[in-house]
Symmetry: D2
Subunit: 188 residues, 4 copies
């Protein structure tokens, strides 16, 4: 719980400081994660609340790479099948709808790439690969893992990690920025 008013720049310093060193703190097999995306027939992303928005940012970039990407819950998102990849995020690894989606995905033969704050959870048990970002979960209001509100630190790290996955995939694709540009939506 904050004790006194904090300026925007001090808040920004806190936030940037909590992201510092993220590259050495992420746990899990990131090479296997890249492999899952590259081998996927289609990629489905699914997250609740702000985690879902962070994953949408990643999803848009994967679309720019030429992948066939869908956001769970959108009206034109089809059923997931064998060979597809479900990319999910849940700080606690216990969010009901996310765990259920992961279960369905594994049942049909799809892979599951999970991002979480722990690899000891129902979600991690189902996931093919789990990437762990040590950070406060949404319902942890003790203030011990972050000076920020609820799951903010995790959600910010999720945005950065999603873009790191994209960056790694992009550099492996051999495409230049100009090559990717024609993939950007042209009807808005």
């Amino acid at each position: 719980m904050p004790e006194a008013p904090v300026s925007v720049t001090d808040a920004l310093a806190l936030i940037v400081g909590e992201a510092d060193g993220l590259d050495s703190r992420v746990q899990g097999d990131t090479a296997a994660a890249i492999d899952l995306v590259e081998r996927a027939g289609r990629v489905f992303v699914h997250g609740a609340g702000r985690s879902g928005l962070a994953l949408r940012m990643t999803a848009m970039r994967l679309m720019h790479l030429g992948l066939d990407v869908h956001v769970v819950g959108e009206v034109t998102t089809p059923a997931i099948h064998e060979g597809d990849l479900l990319l999910v995020a849940s700080g606690s690894g216990t969010t009901g709808s996310i765990v259920q989606a992961a279960r369905t995905a594994t049942e049909v033969g799809a892979s599951v790439l999970a991002v979480s704050t722990t690899d000891d959870s129902p979600l991690a048990e189902l996931a093919t690969v789990t990437l762990v970002i040590p950070a406060a979960t949404k319902t942890d209001r003790s203030g011990s893992a972050s000076g920020q509100y609820a799951g903010s630190r995790f959600e910010q790290a999720l945005v950065l990690l999603g873009d790191a996955l994209f960056h790694a995939l992009w550099t492996r694709s051999g495409h230049s920025a100009d090559d990717l540009w024609p993939s950007h939506a042209n009807l808005e």
Copy 2:
């Protein structure tokens, strides 16, 4: 343009490195920005593509603070009126739909808080307050301002700055994390 495959952790190091020092690089009157949000009758957020997703993350937190928040383009978003605030983001400050929305907002007597990479743009001219994040814009593919693709660096900074605005507003509200919890959506 990337020259060789980069691992996820190296990509993450690049991304975290580009966010480093953001607190001292942000330009503009952040205190005035906070003031605009606190005085606003209602807050409307508007951004294209990934900037729009970043602003949605901010919008959700402002809702948690008890503000009346709307995302432009959602079906239940009403007309903006005098006394409301339009929070927009555009790397270049020239995105047509964003500039047009800013113009409408000023015409009806609403305030405009803009986040951009420059304060020399049609958007900045219309905005009540512009916060500037020095970073590559979406269409800058020269690679000089960022080692990342297109506007990624700006969009990441927008997520972090939006959460810094929230954090500053939260600490000024005098509310604890437990106080805010009941604002979270309870119907999903």
Copy 3:
């Protein structure tokens, strides 16, 4: 199951025919339904898939009337409280997420207006008022209640009934069409 190709105009004749007489087939206390909307502090709409889209059409019109309306699942939708109204639709009245939302709404003291194909369901038990549209449900593929696919007939009726609720509310408001126009979104 269709036995032979049908032209668009023949399909349209089938669809219009299935909507015919809807006004005399709707069951439930429509006057009480209107009363619930008029007395509501805020209106929340919630439906899955195409039913959710139909309710969004209604939600937009209620916003035009000046009501404070939210779509469950949107990022800026706050918690529902005592005195609010939850407007839900479920053909079967058994959709898990919808029934759960109705339960939460009643627990906090909000009203629930349900549209369904039956008033003998978990949803109808929870609802303050249930309006019944006799029509096939989404999972009824027997073809006995409709010549159309799945829940199409119900979803079409839901669009029409939602607009009828709006029309009745509008005529009771005393406002002209010109009065409502300024409520339309002005930032797109």
Copy 4:
């Protein structure tokens, strides 16, 4: 402008009455419209406000048929290319963003299927096929073409016509309802 309060059932009678005979009033080459959808590589739908919601209802059904469908404005919607189909709706045929999208589509070699209240408009000029529903447009508040508010009559007809297009396509596909069921989203 309504002169006296109307009950929900009377409103519903008005609405159903305005839909009556729609099958004989729709103008344009519906067989060519079906042909455009069947030959399309991918289908993109685009409409503003309630027309956009109506088209999303159609889009979901086309996805159930196994088509590759995208809603313009969603984060994972890619660029439209030669051989794709843009399905748009605009009562007046002059909505700026819709006309612009139709222009882009034709420029890249995609087809355009338009639904409108007139075939004498900038949109109809660009469209490969235009289906005309005689009905009031959104900004026609004279009350001469419909007893309902703004574009309601057109938007309702758009829902019904979209479902008629689906029904015709379905009956031509030779698939049973059970065949289509596995296409329904399985991750929610």
